[in-house]
Structures are given as structure tokens and as C-alpha cells.
């Protein structure tokens, strides 16, 4: 009994440490982002906000193009999410359920798209997008991000679908479901947590991606392309404000998607 409780204690300590590992930097960034400038330059920096000021944050938000770029970033991330799920999930399902010629080659081919460093591809990519008339638009960035995210989406979803026994689908079909119906009513709900994880990854990838976004857009920048490259040359207050600003929407998205993830964990724990 005693040993059991000790291991529980250690588990909790570990969990708290891990949580702090993530939360403390976020907290410090938030405090600094809402502090007046002279406080930020002080050393040592205060751990708790002594004065709250929106000065830096407001300057950051008001500087031209930031709000627009936030809107574009969200649109791009959601588009990326939608397209890569619409394409990636069926592809993953096919890989998990069907044996077809060239299946292994297909698997390798998917991953190999990530083998090319995008820096080398930047000029040809920009040239093709210009020729297609998609240059400097939200769609071009979303397509590019989809291409970057797809390998992961396909591989994750295929392993997620593989974890659902075929028996369940077959049982559903014997009870009158069509193939599609079995997928829709049986496999999909069971794989929702895994799909949510893939969605988070896709969203965050798109949200953080700078290079493709920077090269494919000029006036219609996403937030990271707009500010990330200049943040390390900016004064300290802007780094905190920018860092905070880049952080928040991703956090909010994860909060939404989290309940699906908990389904997965809940099932495993029970």
C-alpha cells in the first residue's frame, strides 16, 4: 500500500515537472509581453507582473499588417487542415486496409517528399506558382503546407486505421452496413483521437512554417512570415510580444482539439 502511494507521488511529481517545463516559458513570455518596456530591460526580471501594460502588445498589434496576417495564418492553417485530412485520411485508410501492388513503394514515395530540403526548391516553386497564377495568395501557401504535412498525415492515419480490427467493420457489414457506412459509423469514431493528433500536427506545422510562406507570398504574408524573421533583430519587448502572439492561437486550437485526444488516452488508461 505504502509503496503504491509513493509511486503515485513520484508519478505526480514527474507530471508536474513536465507540465512546468512547458508552462513556465509560456508564462514568462506572457508576463513580459504585458509589462512596460523599462521593466523588461531590468535585471533580474520580475517573476510576477508588477505593472501591467498593453503598450508593447498594442504597438505590435497595430503595426501594419499584423492583424491581417493573423487572419491569413488562420485561414491557411484551416485550409491546410481540411485539404490534408480530406486527402490524407483516405490514403491512410487505403494503406491500412488494402493490399495493392506497389504498396511499399508508395509508402516510401510518401516519405521521400520530405527528403528534399525546401530551401533548394524555393526558386522553382516560386516560379511554378507565379506561372500558375497562384503566387502571393493564401491558397498557394495552403497547398504548399498541405504538401509538407501530407506524408505525416497519411502515415499517422494509416497506423491509426490499422489499429481498428477489420472484424469490427466486417461485423458492421454483416449487419447491413455498406463499406462506406462501416467506415463512417465504426472506423471513423474509433480513430477520432488519432486523427485529432494528426490534425494538431498539421495545424501547428502550418502555423509555424516560415520559409515556404515567405517565398510564396509578398504582400499577403502569414503571421510567421510577417514577423518571425524580423523578431530576432527587434528589441526585447517585441520579441516577447511577438512570441506571445504566435503562441496563443495554437494554444487555443489545441484546447479545442484536446477533448478528442483525451478520448484516446482515456481508453488506454481504462
Amino acid at each position: 500500500m505504502r509503496r503504491w502511494s509513493w509511486s503515485r507521488v513520484w508519478l505526480h511529481v514527474l507530471a508536474v515537472l513536465l507540465a512546468l517545463w512547458v508552462i513556465v516559458p509560456i508564462y514568462l513570455i506572457a508576463v513580459a509581453a504585458f509589462s512596460p518596456r523599462d521593466v523588461i530591460y531590468k535585471y533580474p526580471k520580475p517573476l510576477f507582473p508588477t505593472q501591467v501594460s498593453l503598450e508593447t502588445m498594442l504597438f505590435f498589434i497595430r503595426s501594419s499588417g499584423v492583424l491581417d496576417s493573423v487572419r491569413r495564418s488562420i485561414v491557411v492553417a484551416l485550409l491546410t487542415l481540411a485539404v490534408s485530412m480530406a486527402v490524407g485520411a483516405p490514403a491512410g485508410y487505403a494503406l491500412a486496409r488494402y493490399v495493392f501492388p506497389g504498396r511499399d513503394t508508395f509508402r516510401i514515395a510518401i516519405v521521400s517528399t520530405r527528403a528534399f530540403p525546401i530551401v533548394i526548391l524555393s526558386i522553382p516553386l516560386a516560379v511554378s506558382f507565379i506561372n500558375l497564377g497562384l503566387y502571393d495568395s493564401v491558397i498557394s501557401v495552403a497547398l504548399m503546407h498541405t504538401a509538407l504535412a501530407l506524408p505525416f498525415t497519411i502515415l499517422v492515419t494509416s497506423s491509426v486505421f490499422a489499429s481498428v480490427p477489420v472484424d469490427l467493420e466486417e461485423a458492421a457489414m454483416t449487419l447491413g452496413c455498406s463499406r462506406l457506412g462501416a467506415f463512417w459509423r465504426i472506423s471513423l469514431p474509433l480513430t477520432l483521437p488519432g486523427l485529432a493528433a494528426a490534425a494538431i500536427f498539421t495545424f501547428v506545422l502550418s502555423w509555424n512554417e516560415v520559409f515556404a510562406a515567405a517565398i510564396l507570398t509578398l504582400r499577403n504574408r502569414t503571421l510567421p512570415a510577417h514577423v518571425l524573421s524580423v523578431l530576432n533583430e527587434s528589441p526585447l519587448p517585441f520579441r516577447f510580444a511577438g512570441g506571445f502572439f504566435l503562441l496563443v492561437p495554437a494554444l487555443i486550437f489545441m484546447l479545442f482539439i484536446r477533448r478528442y485526444l483525451f478520448n484516446l488516452w482515456g481508453r488506454v488508461v481504462r
Binding site: 507540465a19 506572457a30 504585458f34 498593453l54 502588445m57 498594442l58 504597438f59 505590435f60 498589434i61 497595430r62 503595426s63 501594419s64 492583424l67 524555393s122 526558386i123 522553382p124 516553386l125 516560386a126 516560379v127 507565379i130 506561372n131 503566387y135 502571393d136 520559409f211 515567405a214 517565398i215 509578398l218 504582400r219 504574408r221 514577423v227 524573421s229 524580423v230 523578431l231 533583430e233 527587434s234 528589441p235 517585441f238 511577438g242 496563443v248 494554444l251 487555443i252 484546447l255
Partner: protein
């Protein structure tokens, strides 16, 4: 438990952001475009039998010139605050709609090259350091702006800078629009120890040594100072000032007889240099502390001395050597891509940037010095004005030799600098044999040049293939 803390926290964050957004809507930061109406009043006296006085009011509205959208892509003024100042102040009076976009050098090059290959451009003006333009020219992306340069010939851009904008060809490819550089700063107390007949604005390195000697004899202290500390910019002094002044080159004359003479003289000068120089990084501090009276550094690293005690310091152009006045300008130029959608607007923008009032605005807002001849008005702080005048004198000196920041070394730039610093340490500080050190370090230098394949850059004459130490 975690949920109960996290959710209110996030709601708070969202609320803050929303609050911020609302305030943003209340005060949109739109840069004001002011249309000016000129009213000319004329009094005409008509003399006839009955003298009648009649006032004729003629209203003249300048034809509203609108150059439309001008997209400016810049590797300079990148920090957010500086971007805002460019948009809100520097470019505010341009007759058109400027769009200022700051970008990393690599992305800028890729974009301009891609737009050239696709045959459809969206960028009108490129603002970048001199070193960026040879790369763009190699890809044949730059427009010939010789006509524009001819139109701007009255702006007083130093001939040497104009020449750099030709990138070693006969065609003007970029137009210099602003600069930063390194100069000397001197405490006024030092001026009385100047060698006899020396003009502080036209010193030679020999006179600098004499000056140091006089100061030491008078005060018993070594009053010259150089930023030879670890993060100091001593290598720029060696590469861009000492070497060109004695050899007329930075690289090719590395182990020449002139270079040997130069090192001998500089070692001799060093006895009057404050021994703490090997630890100095920003010379404004030892100047303010009066540890040294005369010091060399980047304008940005001297400015506090001028700002805090403007009456105590003077800014001086660098001294000259046997070959001329070597100095290192950090030149920022403006170019137009070949397939710019709005070339007329782009030309108007470059013309606008070189206007005296814009040059002053650039200096005040983002700290780059004018390239044109500009009278510094009273509202520029005294410190900046002093530096600016020295910068202008240095660049316009008849014997000036602009030595550019290394071009084409990429990540090897640090190793390149190390060669110069090592040579300095071995010859001047350790007293090793000059010719031996020069031979050995020349080999290191050549290895770096070969590895990068970098051709010579000014002041060295252009080369086929990698630059060669003679």
C-alpha cells in the same frame, strides 16, 4: 484541476487580445497622405484713366501626380519599429502608395530570381547592402538605371559610391541611398596636442602616431584607443582602413612590401595606444570614461559619447596613408528589377529617397547617414550631426578609397576576419617577424578565398575566379 486553471487563463488571454483588437480598431494607424494646395495671390495694378485696383486670385493646384503602388523589398530597416518608421514617416510623403516589405537577404534573392525566371514581377524597388547586388546581377535581374542616375547627378552622391553602383560594369545598376561607416572620435582636450600644422579633418597615419606621442608625453598616459576586444570591430579597421590606406587593396596586397611597411609603422604607433584596447568592444565607454581621448569605431558604437557630452567630443574622418584614405562604407543601394510592374513609380521612389528631406528623415528615424550632400538642420541631435559631418567628409575626401565589406564569403566571413586579427595579434602584440607572419597568414587567407571562390571586391581590382593574394 488542470482544466479549472487552464480555461480561465486562456479566456483571460483571449479577452486581452480581443480588447487589444478593439482598441486597434478605434485608432487605425493609417499614415496620412497630405495633399497640398498652393495658393498664389497676385496683386495687379491696372493703370488707366481711372486707376482701379483689382485683386486677382489665381488658384494653382498641382496636377495630382500619383505613382500608384510601389512595392519596396528591403533587407534593411527590418526590426518592426524601423519598419513602422519607414512606412509611417520616411515614406509618408511619397506621391503614391508605397508598400514597404522587409525580408531576409536569402529570401529576397530567391524571390527576385524567381520572378525574373517566371517573367512576371511584383517587386518595384530593392533596397539592400552593396554585397547583395552582385548576386542579383549575376542572375541578370537588375534594370539599367543609368538614366535615373543622370537625373540625380545634382544630389551630390559621392562619385566613388556612384561607381560602386555600377558593380564593375559601365552600367548603373543601383543607386546609393544611405550609408553607415566607421570614423574616429576625439575628446576636445586632445586637440591641443595635435602635431604642428595638422588638420584634424585631414590627418595622416604618421600624424596620428605623432598625436599619440604628444598626448603621452603631456599626460603620461596612452590616449589612443582601438576596439581590439573579442567583440570589438578591430578587424574592420585593419581590412577597411589600414590596408587600403597603405596598399590601396584589402586582399591582393596582403603581403606586399607596402603592407610590411604598414605593419612596422602601426606596431610603432601601438606604443601610444592604451593597453586596455585588447579588451575594448564599444569605444564610446572608454571615451566617456576618458581612459582614451582618440578612438576608432563604428558610428553606432560611438554615438553615445556624442549624445551624452556633445560639447566634449569631435568626430573626425579616418587618417590617410601613402595610398589614400581607406575607409569602409556600409552602403545601402536601391535597384529596380528588370520586370518591375511599376518602373515609373520605382524611379520616382528612388528619386524621393535621395531628396534631402528624406535623407534627413532616414537619419533621424533609422540611423543611416545620408549619401547626398545634406545640410544638417538644427533639429537633428548634435551628436548625430557631428558624426554625420565626419561621415560626409570621409566619403567625399578626394583621396578616398572605399573598401567594401567582404562580398561572397558567406559563412566564411568570420574566418576572413580572424586572419586579419591574428596577423595583428602576432605582429603588433606579440612582436613576431612581419614578413614571416604575412607569408603564413596569406596562405590562410588564400585558403578561405579558394574555398568560397569569391572574386575580388573593391578596393581590389576585379578578378577572374577566386581573388588571389599577390
Amino acid at each position: 484541476m488542470r482544466r479549472t486553471i487552464l480555461i480561465p487563463l486562456l479566456i483571460l488571454l483571449v479577452a486581452l487580445v480581443v480588447a487589444a483588437c478593439q482598441q486597434q480598431q478605434a485608432q487605425p494607424p493609417t499614415p496620412q497622405v497630405i495633399e497640398k494646395t498652393v495658393v498664389v495671390e497676385k496683386t495687379v495694378v491696372v493703370e488707366k484713366e481711372k486707376p482701379v485696383e483689382k485683386t486677382v486670385v489665381v488658384e494653382v493646384t498641382p496636377t495630382p501626380v500619383d505613382y500608384g503602388n510601389v512595392v519596396i523589398l528591403s533587407t534593411q530597416a527590418k526590426p518592426i519599429e524601423e519598419q513602422e518608421k519607414m512606412r509611417g514617416v520616411v515614406l509618408a510623403d511619397f506621391p503614391g502608395t508605397p508598400e514597404f516589405i522587409a525580408e531576409d537577404e536569402g529570401v529576397l534573392i530567391d524571390r527576385v530570381v524567381a520572378e525574373a525566371q517566371a517573367g512576371k514581377g511584383s517587386v518595384d524597388v530593392i533596397i539592400a547592402l552593396h554585397g547583395t547586388f552582385p548576386v542579383l546581377l549575376a542572375e541578370d535581374t537588375l534594370m539599367d538605371v543609368s538614366d535615373l542616375m543622370a537625373d540625380l547627378s545634382d544630389r551630390g552622391i559621392p562619385e566613388k559610391f556612384v561607381e560602386l553602383g555600377k558593380l564593375g560594369t559601365d552600367t548603373q545598376y543601383y543607386i546609393p541611398i544611405m550609408q553607415a561607416t566607421y570614423i574616429f572620435a576625439a575628446n576636445k582636450a586632445a586637440l591641443e596636442y595635435l602635431p604642428e600644422g595638422a588638420d584634424p579633418d585631414k590627418l595622416t597615419y604618421e600624424q596620428l602616431r605623432e598625436w599619440g606621442k604628444n598626448m603621452q608625453e603631456a599626460t603620461g598616459e596612452q590616449k589612443l584607443g582601438f576596439p581590439a576586444g573579442e567583440r570589438g570591430l578591430m578587424h574592420r579597421f585593419l581590412e577597411g582602413y589600414l590596408y587600403p590606406s597603405y596598399t590601396g587593396t584589402m586582399v591582393t596586397g596582403f603581403r606586399s612590401p607596402e603592407a610590411a611597411t604598414m605593419w612596422g609603422e602601426f606596431r610603432d604607433t601601438w606604443q601610444y595606444v592604451n593597453v586596455q584596447s585588447v579588451a575594448y568592444e564599444f569605444m564610446q565607454e572608454p571615451l566617456l570614461a576618458e581612459e582614451v581621448w582618440v578612438a576608432f569605431d563604428h558610428t553606432a558604437r560611438l554615438i553615445n559619447a556624442f549624445k551624452e557630452r556633445p560639447d566634449d567630443f569631435v568626430a573626425l574622418p579616418a587618417p590617410s596613408g601613402p595610398a589614400g584614405l581607406g575607409f569602409m562604407p556600409v552602403i545601402v543601394g536601391a535597384a529596380i528589377p528588370k520586370n518591375a510592374p511599376n518602373p515609373e513609380g520605382a524611379k520616382a521612389m528612388i528619386e524621393y529617397l535621395t531628396r534631402p528631406e528624406t535623407q534627413i528623415a532616414i537619419l533621424r528615424e533609422i540611423g543611416f547617414f545620408p549619401v547626398t550632400s545634406v545640410d544638417f538642420p538644427g533639429y537633428v541631435s548634435v551628436g548625430i550631426r557631428k558624426e554625420g559631418e565626419a561621415v560626409a567628409k570621409q566619403a567625399a575626401a578626394p583621396n578616398a578609397i572605399p573598401a567594401l565589406l567582404p562580398v561572397g564569403l558567406g559563412e566564411k566571413g568570420g574566418e576572413f576576419n580572424k586572419v586579419y586579427r591574428d596577423t595583428f595579434t602576432r605582429i603588433v602584440l606579440n612582436g613576431e617577424d612581419i614578413q614571416t607572419v604575412l607569408e603564413e597568414e596569406a596562405a590562410n587567407l588564400q585558403a578561405i578565398l579558394d574555398a568560397t571562390g569569391a572574386p575580388c571586391w573593391p578596393p581590389d581590382p576585379p578578378s577572374e575566379g577566386p581573388c588571389q593574394v599577390k
